[in-house]
Chain length 188, copies 2
DNA sequence: GAAATAAGTCAACATGGCTGACATAACCGA
DNA sequence: TCGGTTATGTCAGCCATGTTGACTTATTTC
């Protein structure tokens, strides 16, 4: 019953209903281009590891878990849930597989034995590096293409893209702390 | 049977097997940080529209289709397949729903009547703008936080992140051509 | 000792990828 | 005009990965 707008005159490019106006100096058109570029960039960023994972009967979810366990060895299940923003049931599925296949091991927490700290095995480290390799090449080339001094710009941009309330958490994660990341929970 | 590496001495941070060495001046650690930042940035970039979509009984796949149809009004199904890099069966599922709900209309191609050109309805344009709004705010703020002149850097970076062979295609898409995007197929 | 917390589990369901097979309509060249 | 190719659509089923809800176990904390 929904009468669609006349398809004879579709999508007036200038006629923006009002959502736009101007945002801090950036035109809507320009911002939309960045949105699209981000989509394309991320689409291809994940492509190489996805192909490798297929050979191992695993998916992108496994990659994410393995990456963070490898990079931030010793983190707890709760930290991982926080980072990935998925439910423990979703995490459990892939984590169990990674443990069963010998890519990750867990140990009871040092101070709190209810906690499970996660560590990569040698095999896990090897796979994590293999998955990361093409992504690092891509990033290095893109940074080079961006010109000198682009790293600082990139870092500021990406950090600002993160939800403001999560930035402290992300920062603390980025410091590759070998200690379980309690910051943002009760700590500071 | 897989004997895991001794979990007592997990993840020597310096002991990189050889995948690393040095990539064009960027340390592996730095590149990994960018990889993580990109993950967090994209994670949050998609969060706002995902929440809105839920109220409409739709998912991220609908958003992607609606976005590109709205931005590049008149593109063909084949163009969309190319952009999203999914199968026509996957696209069909969400596209059909968007058409049934009156967000998108199709017309037979002007020169080739086998083709289906896709257009947003008024309703579709409205939803696309509503979904884009929080993302554009986020992007504008992040660009501002990146400092003056960051746009050019960002653009170069994101374009370089795209697979080299797809860059011409992406460029032609970005020009918001109102004409069906035949470039990269047989054209130039 | 009771309550709270960290983690694990079972069951069911939704979304959105995939493959394979096949149908229809339209175009295009011989 | 006919036959092959192309653009699109569709059916059927599978897989990965997200969700909610309910419940258990081990451990810590008050």
């Amino acid at each position: 019953m929904e009468k669609p707008a006349d398809p004879k005159a579709p999508a007036k490019p200038g006629g923006n209903g009002g959502a736009a106006r101007r945002r801090a100096n950036f035109s809507e058109a320009k911002l939309l281009e960045f949105a699209e570029l981000l989509f394309f960039a991320y689409r291809d960023f994940t492509r190489d590891p996805d192909a490798i994972l297929k050979d191992f009967g695993m998916g992108r979810a496994h990659h994410r878990v393995l990456h963070f366990v490898n990079r931030h060895s010793g983190l707890r299940v709760a930290d991982l849930l926080d980072i990935l923003t998925i439910t423990k049931q979703s995490l459990s599925r892939v984590l169990k597989q990674l443990i069963d296949k010998g890519y990750i091991v867990q140990r009871a927490g040092a101070s709190d034995r209810r906690e499970r700290q996660l560590f990569p095995t040698e095999k896990g480290r090897a796979l994590a590096e293999r998955l990361a390799a093409p992504q690092l090449v891509r990033l290095a080339e893109a940074l080079r293409a961006s010109g000198p001094g682009s790293e600082a710009v990139l870092r500021r941009f990406l950090e600002a893209m993160v939800n403001a309330e999560d930035r402290p958490k992300v920062s603390s994660i980025m410091q590759a702390s070998p200690v379980p990341l309690k910051a943002g929970k009760g700590g500071g």
